[in-house]
């Protein structure tokens, strides 16, 4: 069997099967692919998803029992209601911020987790904790674990793609999509509508004919060398990698070519919006759908970027001027994301695709002393899931009356990822990798599946 395989077939098998750590599912998988949408900066649960009538009622009053609380940036003032009204949406009547009118249409498909908590109140560690379950960098991202656990669904594109916002990388940058200590093939490949895959294209100075001749020569030279060095399978593997690279050179530009999409699709997403940031994000949303269609296992899509010299300018970190900041970020996020969900649904892709919405932590119900913004709040935030294997129109857990703390069915990032793995057919306690003295897991030594949101 060995000698009969061509390089390409070999590569295909290698990529699809043998990278997988636990190819046998522990549970019947509900989802095959994952789309993770990440709004970095600590997107406020109180202004987007978590309706708190008491906050409106007690606006301007001190938060009972926490009048002098000091959080990440310092002292807190009194309770501050959301600048946006909430309105019921969908058949479920879920109350959603009027800042997100397009997203509101999808609430019947979403399972909200309102009782999330984080171990850190700082963006960088918070972001990587949401992605890796550890606040320290150097651990594999969930996408990398899933690549390691399940392998690839295609033979000409990366398994795990991370799409950054035009405004830049999220807090802690590449640590969010790194392979950590897993082998490097499990890291995400960075790609965006405005940023093609690195080193993909044949250099301009080399003609197509020269490329073919060079590769033919190289294949032949490597073949002679491999034959002279039996018992070293890596030599053949590297030859296969060159064939795979050639396929990727054809497939990646094709999948990134958004001009193949009809005008009504572009209009749905808003790719030609006059707001350049919204248009750029919309193109990334469209790119996400195309990547999923081509069998990319895990797509991680960012809407906004890191902390900047001004809080809340480049991401959802509205410390001082919540209204002005979210009036900017909300519209960038709303229509394109909703369009992506609509599109996935219309194409039947939600049957296999699990959609996640994440942020690193929530925000305080109070305003920050002397400002009209909210400080970080790791004790309460909202995430949601929808799509394959997820019950729609439900909520798991709850925060207290003011949204200060998660109090009912408190959930963690470990629970979140235990649930994601379960939906992919993996027991989060069994997907392990030995590193520096321990068999590491995505969920560290924690995590319970959030059964209530499973369909």
């Amino acid at each position: 069997m060995t000698t009969g395989l061509t390089g390409v077939a070999l590569a295909r098998l290698l990529v699809q099967d043998l990278f997988a750590a636990g190819a046998a599912p522990h549970f019947p998988p509900k989802a095959k692919q994952v789309l993770q949408i990440f709004c970095p900066g600590g997107a406020s649960h109180l202004d987007l998803w978590d309706y708190k009538p008491m906050l409106e009622k007690y606006h301007g009053k001190p938060l009972p029992g926490a009048e002098t609380e000091v959080t990440f940036q310092g002292k807190n003032g009194n309770l501050m209601k959301s600048p946006w009204a909430f309105a019921p949406a969908g058949r479920s009547g879920k109350m959603i911020s009027t800042l997100l009118p397009h997203m509101a249409r999808h609430v019947d498909d979403m399972a909200f987790i309102h009782s999330m908590t984080s171990r850190t109140n700082t963006h960088g560690p918070g972001c990587i904790a949401m992605n890796t379950c550890f606040t320290r960098e150097g651990f594999p991202s969930a996408g990398a674990w899933i690549s390691y656990g399940l392998g690839s669904l295609n033979d000409n594109l990366p398994t795990f793609v991370s799409i950054q916002d035009l405004r830049g990388e999220p807090p802690n940058g590449k640590a969010n999509w790194g392979n950590g200590f897993l082998p490097a093939q499990h890291q995400a490949v960075a790609l965006a509508a405005h940023q093609p895959l690195r080193n993909l294209g044949r250099p301009a100075e080399i003609s197509a004919a020269e490329e073919v001749a060079t590769r033919d020569f190289l294949r032949q030279a490597n073949s002679v060398h491999a034959t002279a060095h039996p018992g070293y399978d890596e030599l053949r593997a590297r030859m296969a990698a060159y064939e795979l690279a050639a396929k990727m050179q054809l497939a990646a530009p094709a999948v990134s070519d958004l001009s193949r999409e009809p005008a009504h699709v572009h209009a749905l997403y808003g790719t030609n919006d006059t707001n350049a940031l919204k248009a750029a994000y919309a193109r990334n949303c469209l790119l996400s759908r195309r990547l999923l269609e081509q069998g990319v296992r895990y797509v991680s899509l960012y809407c906004a970027s890191r902390a900047s010299a001004v809080d809340g300018l480049l991401n959802w970190d509205a410390h001082k001027t919540l209204k002005a900041d979210y009036d900017r970020h909300g519209p960038i996020f709303d229509q394109p994301t909703a369009a992506l969900l609509t599109d996935l649904k219309q194409r039947g892709m939600l049957a296999d695709t699990l959609v996640l919405w994440c942020t690193e932590f929530g925000r305080m119900p109070t305003h920050q002393d002397g400002t009209a913004g909210r400080d970080h709040n790791p004790d309460a935030f909202t995430t949601w899931m929808m799509g394959a294997g997820v019950k729609g129109g439900v909520s798991h857990g709850a925060t207290d009356d003011f949204g200060r703390r998660s109090v009912q069915d408190v959930a963690t990032v470990y629970d979140f990822h235990a649930t994601v793995l379960r939906l992919l057919g993996i027991d989060h306690e069994k997907l392990t990798y030995y590193h520096n003295g321990t068999n590491r897991r995505l969920t560290d030594v924690h995590g319970h599946v959030l059964e209530r949101i499973l369909a």
Binding site: T2, L5, L18, F19, A23, A24, V70, T71, T120, T122, H123, G124, P125, E137, G138, G168, E169, N172, A175, G178, G180, P183, V189, R198, L200, R202, I206, E210, F217, A221, N222, V224, H225, A226, H229, G231, Y232, E234, L235, R236, R238, A241, A245, Q249, S308, V310, K320, T321, L322, K323, A324, H367, G370, T371, A372, Y433, N436, G437, T438, N439
Partner: protein, 947 residues
């Protein structure tokens, strides 16, 4: 199938052996088999034990092994699991286990069935103090054997029971390439290969000895083995975490490591310098720099007002030091004892906090490293200048006092006629003027009476005269705004710019730079009579803290040609923002000519002194850590939670080795430096077996690709067990005998026949030991990322061999609060130094190095992973680096086509092409030229692998 599995193994070389067993095999055995086949079984079935290695080796009642290493098809255990035996389907009364699980068993058996579960009886679930690595060194007489070399006799003794023998000696070219890469990280030159081949033919022993001595004496030895050590000590030149700020003064540590290895500094001294160089080498920068080890790991420097968060961050920062120390020197995963007693090793949680007590006074940061002479010289050079500066400042202050007093008196006399500037909205009216150009020249801000730099504006409006007045400054009317900004976000060019003040949106602000001038150009001439400006971000509450400073002293000017400007309105007459603003405004008008002259003169003299002061070379600061006496004693953190202090602990030796090594305990308030020194002295005691074993194993690993223990920083229960325990102790003992110097140990290893044997593949031997862990052949290996890059530079004649100093960068670095690293598209010759001199920022991705598994140094990387990916192919084929080097390489060849192809092979592979190769290369060369051939050869497997 064999090939596929083999390839998979090679692709994931780090998950071999014991780790594979622990992950894939042991859980299945425990779950599916132990119920009937273990010491705990209620009723043992068929007399077969599967909870020890000895159990399956002995077999059940049949008395034959149920696993035959290397031969899955002959292993009864697997056949039963596959339901391939007529009456033996295991586990009983169940469907077959999943195919993937069965495939794991095939893989495992093919690997030689590695199984660490020794001991005859019940399986130990954790290590106790009798664990092998915690015992004193037990050097024994090497086994008997024909070889005169003890190392060879140990190897042969392990090969013989498997029916294996070592390969014959490697041919000359293979040996010289292997040794040169191994010791220096570079390929030999074609001339060196040829010369060695000549000498080797005459007298192999002498030629080899001469080669080893030459290589170990070459400065490139320190670069190669220093790089290995930098991996172990998680050396990275940015702080990591959210801000990931670059560190430009950590490179002296890299140079220190290289120099120490080249000098063959005893490793016990080296370790002491790492932990307490400032104590043992006070005022000797060459020694003090060692403490950079302590702070070379990532840490979180984001300021945090939350008390609990602060303590957690501090705990995480010290955890990095403890983890690094335990792993690098002791091979202990001390960090696993942070929240509870170690689950697998006999490390009580107190041990973790004993080490924390040693490091309690360490903080990340830089300090001056200078000799006493340098300090004296610096003081002598700067003292007179500082004195002169102080005198001038006194003189100026006296003059300012006189002027300010007069200005204040004048200010009191002049009543302000208009309101203060209002940051939320300020208006200036003027006579209607027709213009295409208008500018706003700002002299002061609400935060600084002397400059408007770093203040901000949200919106600036210019209103047309007459009825239906409209804002003609809006960008949508075609107006252009120009002005400097005080901060940038390079990957997001639109941030903070002056265009934001004419976008009609009161959200984002222009961060005003220097000079503080906003210049507007309208699309056509307009008649205007009013401007308004505001610095307000919206929302209910709007204060200086969130909106920043606002310009408050200014002039509005117009111009017909963009050169001559006429002031049409200004802040004159407004109530000044503060008294100081008023004084500053008046100073512009009330100075006497004499005062003006004096001020100018003072400013120029002060400027000169400050320039001279700056010109004195500063004492060198290095990111080597800062030390202070801890304010509080150290406590155990219950459950690892710093908010739950438990029992106090003192700085003391960890109890895990108390039975083997004489310990120490210092008082709770022991001086800070003594704590680290005591720990260092304890680690480096000659009777401490762990550092010697760990170090000897690292040396072996870098020579052969895999250590005798394949988990080089974990000698605990979950780590690998030694493939050759007696050899490991022998090597550790030799290391001690050599006074902890590495070079004599290298020499012994390099001269062993085991090392010098060929890499020849023998299928019958591979069936027993595919990975050659027993060393029946020299295992081939891929070059590391650095070796590959250095090789490409070396063979194309472009390698810049300058040693030391600040590193080069393969990325563009930007900072806007947090730092971002963008890979370089055009790495020019400035980057053509050896990769060890690359300034390795954390969480950065650079071409070639990252592709070929240069680790992200968030953790120690005691062993590189080795992957094969399509992205590697894309980089090596298409990146400018390859193209530039292919061109340089081709430029070295001369003569006719055949001669050039010959030179190509000689340059790149240090050998002549065969006739067939020559024939195969000619068409590519003839049609597409030498550069095409160069590009192909730089991509060839032969370049990337050594045997």
């Amino acid at each position: 199938m064999l090939g596929l599995l083999g390839a998979a193994r090679a692709w994931a070389a780090d998950s071999a052996g014991i780790a594979f067993f622990e992950q894939k095999i042991r859980p299945v055995l425990a779950e599916q088999c132990y119920e009937c086949h273990s010491a705990q079984a209620k009723k043992l079935k068929a007399g077969l034990l599967l909870d020890t290695k000895a159990g399956w080796e002995r077999g059940g009642d049949s008395g034959t092994p149920v696993v035959v290493p290397g031969r899955p098809e002959e292993s009864l255990l697997l056949r039963a699991m596959q339901h391939a035996e007529p009456d033996l389907a295991m586990p009983p009364k169940q469907p077959r286990l999943p195919e993937a699980t069965l495939a794991d068993f095939v893989t495992w058996i093919r690997m030689g069935a590695p199984d660490p579960r020794d001991g005859g009886g019940a399986v130990a679930r954790r290590a106790d103090k009798s664990w092998w690595s915690l015992q004193p060194l037990r050097p024994a007489e090497p086994p008997a054997g024909p070889s005169s070399d003890p190392i060879d006799r140990y190897i042969d003794a392990a090969l013989a029971p498997q029916g294996l023998t070592r390969n014959p000696p490697a041919p000359a070219r293979e040996l010289v390439r292997r040794m040169t890469y191994d010791v220096t990280g570079l390929p030999p030159t074609p001339a060196e290969v040829a010369a060695f081949a000549r000498d080797y033919a005459l007298d192999p022993a002498r030629a080899t000895e001469a080669l080893v001595d030459r290589l170990l004496a070459s400065p490139q030895y320190g670069e190669q083995w220093g790089r290995h050590w930098l991996d172990v000590v998680r050396f990275g030149e940015s702080i990591g975490f959210e801000r990931n700020v670059i560190i430009d003064d950590l490179w002296p540590f890299r140079d220190y490591v290289i120099a120490s290895l080249n000098a063959d500094k005893p490793f016990n001294r080296f370790i002491v310098e790492h932990l307490a160089g400032d104590v043992v080498g006070k005022n000797d920068p060459a020694v003090e720099v060692g403490t950079a080890f302590l702070v070379a790991g990532p840490y979180d420097d984001v300021s945090n007002q939350d008390v609990a968060a602060k303590k957690n961050i501090r705990a995480a920062t010290l955890d990095d030091l403890i983890t690094a120390t335990g792993g690098a020197f002791l091979g202990l995963t001390l960090n696993c004892a942070r929240c509870h007693h170690h689950k697998f090793d006999p490390i009580p949680t107190e041990d973790y906090y004993r080490l924390r007590a040693a490091f309690e006074g360490v903080t990340h940061g830089r300090r001056v490293l200078a000799t006493p002479e340098e300090r004296v010289r610096f003081a002598a050079a700067t003292a007179p200048l500082k004195k002169a500066k102080a005198a001038l400042e006194t003189e100026k202050a006296a003059l300012d006092t006189v002027i300010d007093a007069r200005a204040k008196a004048e200010l009191a006399a002049r009543l302000a006629t208009r309101h203060k500037v209002d940051p939320l909205l300020t208006e200036e009216r003027f006579e209607p003027v027709r213009t295409r150009r208008l500018r706003f020249v700002m002299h002061a801000s609400t935060a600084n009476p002397r400059s408007a730099g770093a203040s901000r504006l949200t919106e600036f409006e210019v209103w047309s005269a007459g009825a239906d007045s409209r804002n003609v400054a809006l960008a949508r009317h075609g107006t252009q705004a120009a002005g400097e900004k005080s901060t940038t976000a390079e990957d997001f060019a639109a941030a903070y710019g002056p265009q934001l003040v004419i976008d009609g949106d009161f959200g984002e602000q222009w961060f005003i730079g220097s000079p503080a001038v906003l210049t507007l150009t309208f699309s056509r001439e307009e008649t205007v009579d009013r401007i308004t400006f505001r610095n307000a971000k919206g929302g209910d509450i709007n204060d200086e803290k969130s909106r920043g400073a606002t310009p408050c002293e200014y002039e509005v000017q117009v111009s017909a040609d963009g050169r001559e400007w006429r002031t049409v309105a200004s802040s004159e007459g407004r109530e000044p923002w503060t008294l100081a603003h008023g004084v500053e405004r008046l100073r512009r008008t009330i100075l006497t000519p004499e005062e003006r002259r004096q001020l100018t003169d003072l400013a120029s003299r002060l400027g000169a002194v400050e320039r001279d002061l700056k010109a004195v070379p500063p004492l060198r600061e290095v990111f080597a850590g800062k030390f202070a006496q801890p304010a509080e004693p150290t406590f155990v953190h219950k459950g690892g939670d710093p908010l739950k202090p438990g029992e106090p602990v003192v700085p003391a030796s960890p109890a895990v080795l108390a039975h083997a090594v004489v310990g120490y305990a210092l008082p709770a308030d022991a001086p800070e430096g003594e704590r680290r020194l005591a720990l260092a002295r304890w680690i480096t005691r000659d009777d401490n077996p762990l550092p010697l074993r760990v170090l000897a194993n690292r040396v072996w690993q870098y020579h052969f690709g895999t250590g005798l223990v394949d988990t080089p920083s974990d000698f605990g229960f979950l780590g690998g067990v030694p493939s050759h325990p007696a050899l490991l102790d022998y090597l550790a003992d030799r290391l001690r005998a050599h006074g902890w110097r590495l070079k004599p140990l290298h020499r012994e290893i390099l001269l062993s026949a085991t090392y010098r044997q060929s890499g020849l593949f023998r299928p019958e031997a591979a069936r027993v030991d595919h990975e050659a862990r027993l060393l029946w052949r020299f295992p081939p290996r891929r070059l590391s990322a650095e070796e590959l890059r250095d090789t490409m530079l070396a063979v194309s004649g472009q390698l810049d061999r300058r040693m030391g100093g600040p590193g080069f960068r393969l990325y563009k670095f930007t900072q806007n609060n947090v730092c971002t690293y963008f890979p370089l598209d055009e790495p020019g010759p400035a980057t053509y130094r050896r990769a060890v001199y690359h300034q390795n920022a954390r969480a950065s991705v650079v071409d070639v190095l990252s592709d070929f598994d240069f680790p992200d140094i968030a953790f120690s990387a005691p062993r590189r992973v080795n992957t094969t990916t399509p992205l590697q192919a894309l980089t090596l084929l298409n990146h400018r680096f390859t193209l530039d080097l292919a061109r340089a390489l081709a430029g070295r060849w001369h003569g006719d086509a055949a001669a050039q192809v010959r030179q190509a092979y000689t340059d790149v592979f240090q050998r002549e092409p065969t006739a067939a190769e020559l024939a195969a290369a000619m068409p590519l060369f003839a049609t597409y030229g030498p550069v095409a051939l160069g590009r192909a050869l730089l991509n060839a497997n032969e370049l990337l692998y050594v045997e």
